[in-house]
Every structure is written in C-alpha cells, then in structure tokens.
Amino acid sequence: MSDFPISAKSVPTNTTPLDRRSCELRRQIVRTFAAGQRGHVASAFSLVEILRVLYDDVLRYDPAKPNWAGRDRCILSKGHGCLALYVLLAEKGFFPEEELWKFCHTDGILGGHPEYGKVPGVEASTGSLGHGLSIGVGMALSARFDRADHRIFVVGSDGESDEGSVWEAAMSAAKHRLSNLTLLIDYNKQQSYSTTYEVLDLEPFADKWRAFGFEVEEVDGHNVDDLRAVLARTPLVADRPTAVICHTIKGKGVGCIENNLKWHHKSRVADEEIQMLLLELEVD
C-alpha cells in the first residue's frame, strides 16, 4: 500500500514550506524564463527539490571536468523540466550564469530541452519523453561491465510513464538487477492536457513499479530532508533498481501556478507577471 494516500482523482496538495534556497532557485528559474520569454516553469518548479538534493547532496561530479569518467550520471528524462536543471548546473559552475540570460536565444547553449554535447553536465538529449530510462540502463550496464562504482540517476515524470518505452526499459533494468540505477519520478499528477488521472491513470503507480521489479519508496518530493534520507539509502536493495516516487505539486511555490494547467508551457509573459512571481518567491 502507498504511504501516500493521495488520490490522483483530487487536486494534489502539499504544504511543505520552502526554505530560502528552494525559493532562490525558483526565483532564478523565473529570471531565466523571463530571459527566454518561454518555458515549462511549472514543470521546473515541481522538480526543484529533487534536483537540488541530487546536486547538493548525492551526485559525485566535478564541474571543471564534466566528462570525468568517475562522475555519477544524472539524466533528466523529463527534459521539459530543464529550467531547474540549468539553474543548478550554472550555480555549480558547469557553465557561466550569463548563459541563463540567453535561454532559448539563437546564440545560447540552453534550449527549451537539454542537449548532450552542447550543455556541460547534460548527459543525454531529452525532450521527447520515454528515452531517458533506456539510456540509463545502457549506462548502468556499462558501469557494471567496467567495474566502475559511479551510479546512474534518471529523473522521469508521471506523464512520461504513459510511454510504453518506459516499461520496456523498466523490465530490462529489473532483469539485469541494476542496483546502480535509481529512477526518481516527479509525480505531480498533472500533464499537458489534464490530470494524469483523467488522461491515462497511472495508479496503482508504486505497485506497478514494484511489479516491474523495482524497489520502491514514496516521498514528499518537496521535503528536502525526506529526499536526502531516501537517497542516502539508495540503492534500497542490493539486487534491484530503485524507484523513488516523488509526490510533488506542479508549479510548487507560487499560488497562481500550482496545479494550473495553463502554466504547463508558457510564452510571452508580461514584465508585471514576472515581477509578481519574483515577489511571491521572495524570502524575508
């Protein structure tokens, strides 16, 4: 049974307070979004704590050597959440912050979906959903063959799990008992058209992943302490891949964006709206 008796039928709620760092990362996302005049802000907001904990506390990497063989691989399979990734990669020093202000510009490296080979720190080009987990399986098999101890993290989404390829990859990961592979799913229960319940219900979601051979944990995806605690225990078991289902809110942090389908992808935003978002995310 799920530890999170959140019905996918009702509007999800999450009252976890955001700390100064979470608010500031969201403000930086808003500034990047304003620079590009477009972006999946709500999808990025639901990811902030997941990626923040990965890059602050979990992943092994060296921004000065983004291709260092010993690094952990982190694939953002829900590529449309890239605003959150870009902000963190810039902050960690993978590329200069100025690149953020060229988001989606002709002369920038940061597009509406992340690209391998163009953006230091991006392990795979994503954007079309359902690709990241298979690539992660291949990377995990490679690490095992090389007897390398780095790990593979794939950050996917609920809507993405509509794709059959996700479940092909899941069977493959389980067959190979890839304990060096951890999947984190941003389960905000909204997709482009409507709720995941209405579009293509995923429940019982955690049980599906268990049935497909993953060791599963569910966590409040905005609770930094809980995320740290779960990820510190990964791999959860020695002979299976791990899936961490992160219960989140699409648009978390700004009232008018939370669970608001109009914010799935947004373009041409007025300056006043940007200022309103920054103000709401201001920390005392």
């Binding site: 690209e115 795979a124 690539i135 399986v137 291949g138 098999l141 490679s142 090389d146 390829s165 493959s172």
Partner: protein, 318 residues
Amino acid sequence: MRRTCLNMVYELAKTDERIFFVGSDIGFGTLDEFKADFPGRFFVEGVSEANVIGLAAGLALEGKIVYTNTIATFITRRCFEQVALDLCLHNVNVRLIGNGGGLVYAPLGPTHQAIEDIAIFRALPRMAIVAPADAEEMKRLMPLTVDYPGPIYIRLAKGGDPVVTDPGMSFRIGKAFVMRRGKDALIVTTGMMLKAALDAADKLAQDGLKAAVLHMPTVKPLDTSVLLDLAEKAPIIVTVEEHSIIGGLGSAVAEAVAEANFDSVKRFKRIGIPDVFPNKYGSQAGLLTHFGIDTETIVSVIRQLNKRPSGQLATERN
C-alpha cells in the same frame, strides 16, 4: 551474408573489448559463441526495440561500440524516434544490422518487408547506410564499422546471394565502385541488385550498347564525386534498388544529378518498388520479377530510353 556479418561481429569482439552486442528477440542460436565467450558484452532484451536502441545508446555514450540486430522493419519503423534521437542526435557508435532489407521476407507479408528503410534513415542527419552486394563485400565492410564515427545502418540481403564483387577489391564507407565502364548508359545500384545490373550490362553489350555499372553499397553518405563524374558523360541513367522508388537510391541519385545542372539532357528512370505495399507473397525473386526489378526490365528500360527522341520523354509518367 547475415551469417558472415554476425560472425564478424564475434570475430571483431575477440580483439576489441569495446564491442558489445544487443539483440531484441533474435533467432535461436544466434551468436551463441559470442554469448559463451563474452557474456558480459552480450544482451538479448526481448521484443522491445525502443529499449534496445536506447540501451545501446547508453552503452555507446560510455565509449562502447554496439552492434544490434533484428529484422530490418523492426529496427527502422518501430523505433524510429529512438534511432533519430538516441543514436543520430547523440552521434553514437551503434551499428544497426537489419535482416531482410527489401523483399527478402516476401512470404511473411508487408509487416516484414523493409521497403522504405533506406528512405527514412537517409533523412536522418549523421546516419550512414550501407548495403553490401554479397558476403565477400560484407567481410570487407565489417572491420571498418568498428571505428567509423556515428551510427551505421547495415542492410542485409537474403543470404546465399551469388558473390559478384571481387574479393581483391578495397572498401570504404562512403565510396562507390565502378564495376563496368560504358558510354551509352549508366546503371546505378546498391546491395544485391548489383548482379542484375551486371547481367543487364552484359545483355546490352550484345546489342552494342555499352552500359557503365556503378555499385553504391553506401547510400549515405553518397559518393557524388564518382556518381556525377559518370553521370555527366552518360546520356541515360537508370537506378536499380530493392526498395521503394521514393526516397531511396533512385531519389538520391536523381537529387544529385538534377542539382549538378549538366548541360547535356539526361534520360532517367528509377527501377524499384512502386508506391505500394506488396500484396503478394511467394518468394523474394518472385516479387522482384512482379515489380520489374530484374535484369530483363533494366535491359528493356535502357533499350527504350536509347531509342526514344528526348522530346517524347516528358509526356510519359510513371
């Protein structure tokens, strides 16, 4: 040709630890030796082509050289987006070995006939497409696939096809081979259609018509330098392929020749599968004859083009 190809994957893997094999639900016994000798580099992942390609990309992003194999339609149609994004966009060293290019699986029907594989892969940036004529040419190709940068599609013929290339020939991915020289017409082929083209050239010679034969095992990147050199001198150009006339070798040649803007007028014809799904079973040879992809058709097309005043050509439509 298939056995030669897969056997060479095994032979190459013996001396190169970067070489991995990922199959879907391949035939019983396929590459048993590879599996026995290098189990850590051998994977069979089931009827899950999207995952096979993504997994192969993940391995290749880590520096492995990955050979994959299944029926050509499944490795081209089913997982097209994985091929486009995971392989071509990432520019990784994955080699797609497609069984049964063209009409090989005639008795199995249109689900198994790869009639547009070249067309759809030709549209993908960075994808190389190679269709050897026979097992000997396959032997020359395979060692070059190890370090070739980027994805490669290797289109397999039926197997047991007559050897028409000279074992002493060189091979390079991206290079075309002039098999016959002749001033009256140019026949351009790929894959196992080379034999029909050579036989046609022999028959035409009996009429005194000298046809050049250009074998293009690599359809992409197309060796336009050799092609245009021959095309410039040829009054008649005929392409022959076991593939739809849309988007394959014939289209590639037509594009190159049209944009060369030669001063001299060219009479041109694509011989291939018309814009239909084959609706008959039988054998590969039977379907090739049904669609007029054979020596007799090449001969008659070139004879007709040779007779006809150029003014009449525009009125004829395929």
